[in-house]
Structure formats: structure tokens, C-alpha cells
Subunit: 125 residues, 2 copies
DNA sequence: AAACTAGGTTACTAAAAGAGAGTAACACAC
DNA sequence: GTGTGTTACTCTCTTTTAGTAACCTAGTTT
């Protein structure tokens, strides 16, 4: 069995596209929000502050296409659509939450570094 | 001591910007490449297939500003510039490599899911 | 003296994201 | 039975961002 070697450093490898989406600002936040359990479209829009309807739709479609999120339509009259993580999506949420946690834990260091950098690089004496 | 609560789900929280960069296509690849050790600009450009000089410069400047990458200039005549991870950068590389590993490990599932999705959503009968 | 080197910067263009109005489909109030 | 409200989009338009390619520096080789 020839097991293909996935290499995201090669721009033509399919894994590059996957890494691109996995490392996408909205994907990280949407998957993070869905770790709390199933959510409907409007709930996600509210949780992920600043996301436009267009980008939320697009992100969810992409995640659905990759089998990370399941979409359930309830035939009701104001429409009701629920999104939830699949098993794949749940396994992805681990490294994604790790990123989120790293960010929160390292904010003080980063803020300090930014101030130092900006002070040194824009003296504008 | 009032410890601020960082919330990347709030679009105005500074942690949002950091998560944006941390979850950036080029940042993930550049940091991944630098886990192998210090690299010069041209080496990174070659390793991270498809990145333009502009985006590589921009990504490295951003990482440098956040204190994740250190930039060393050697005053030579063709110039020589080396980049390497700082301690912060090395701690970030853990969740980032986890993402990369997850991607590689889950490619078969994703490829299958994509084919199923595309087959179902573009029958073009 | 023309060409090459490494690590950029600049100008221009193409692609993507954001903003905001519009749509469907029916339930309910009036 | 006309009007309003609801949800999950979709379309159009404008602004941002990314990509492409040419240019720059300045000493070194041909």
C-alpha cells in the first residue's frame, strides 16, 4: 500500500488547502464555539463577534465539505438550522483549542513585545 | 491585581488580532519551518513553497513584532539575515505543529468527505 | 562594465473580505 | 386579507488584502 506523504509545505499538496482552512481566523472561532455543543446559525453569528453572514455561511460550508461539521435543517417556519461538530471536527477541536489557550496565556508577553517593537521602530523623533 | 480576561470571540479584544495571526496560513508554515532551527530569508522562501517575498517579509515582521521570531542581520555583502524562534515562538510551535500533524493524519478522511460532498452538491444532472 | 548576489521595497492588479439590502416562506396580529 | 416579523441565507457593491513583477543596494565575480 502506498501511503501518500502529505506535505503542506508543497503548495500543490492537498494538505496545504486543508491547513489553510484549519488555520483560518473564522474556522478557529467557529470550531471553538461548536465545542460547546450544537448551535444554530444565528447563535454562532452572535458568539463569533464580527463575522459577517457571508463569511459565516462560507466558513460553515467549508467545514461541512471537509466533514468537520454536520448541518441539520429543521423544516420549520422560521427556518432553523443547527450545526454541530462531527467526530473529525471534535478531534480537530483539540489542537484548535490549544491554539486559543496558548493565545490567551501568552497575551501579556505579546502585548509587551509589541510595545517594545513599536517603540523601537516608529520613533518619529 | 486585576487580571484581564482575554476573549478572542470579542472582536475588539487584542487577543483576537493575535489569534488571527497565529491562525494565519503563512505564520503556521513559517513557524513550522523555523522549528527546525534558524533559517535565512531565502531558505524560508524556498521551504514555504508559494509564499511571495512580500508576504514572507510581512509575516516575519509580524512574528518579530509579537516577539515570536528574532531577526539577526549579518553585515555582509550579499546581505545575510537569519530568523529563529524565540522562547515564545518555541512555545507556540507546539500547538502549531499539533495542527500540522492533525492535518496530515486526517487527510484521508477529509479527501473522502470532500468527494462525497462535491458529488452530492454538484450533480449537474 | 555588465551581471550576479540576498533581502528586501514599491507599484500595480487580482482576489477576497466586509457592509448592507434583498429574498423566501409562512405564522400571527389586526 | 394586508401587514409585520422571523431565520437563514444570497446578491451587489465597496474596501482590504494578497499576489505579481519590476526595481534597489552595493560589493564581487566575469
Amino acid at each position: 500500500m502506498n501511503e501518500p506523504v502529505w506535505d503542506p509545505y508543497d503548495r500543490n499538496c492537498p494538505s496545504r488547502q486543508v491547513l489553510d482552512r484549519v488555520g483560518d481566523r473564522w474556522s478557529v472561532l467557529v470550531v471553538g464555539a461548536l465545542t460547546q455543543g450544537p448551535r444554530r446559525f444565528s447563535e454562532l453569528a452572535k458568539t463569533v463577534d464580527g463575522v459577517s453572514q457571508k463569511m459565516l455561511t462560507q466558513t460553515l460550508r467549508g467545514l461541512e465539505r471537509d466533514g468537520l461539521v454536520a448541518r441539520t435543517i429543521f423544516a420549520q417556519i422560521p427556518p432553523r438550522v443547527e450545526y454541530e461538530l462531527t467526530a473529525s471536527g471534535r478531534s480537530l477541536s483539540e489542537p484548535m483549542l490549544a491554539l486559543e489557550e496558548w493565545t490567551k496565556a501568552n497575551m501579556p508577553r505579546i502585548v509587551t513585545a509589541r510595545e517594545a517593537y513599536d517603540g523601537a521602530h516608529a520613533p518619529k523623533a
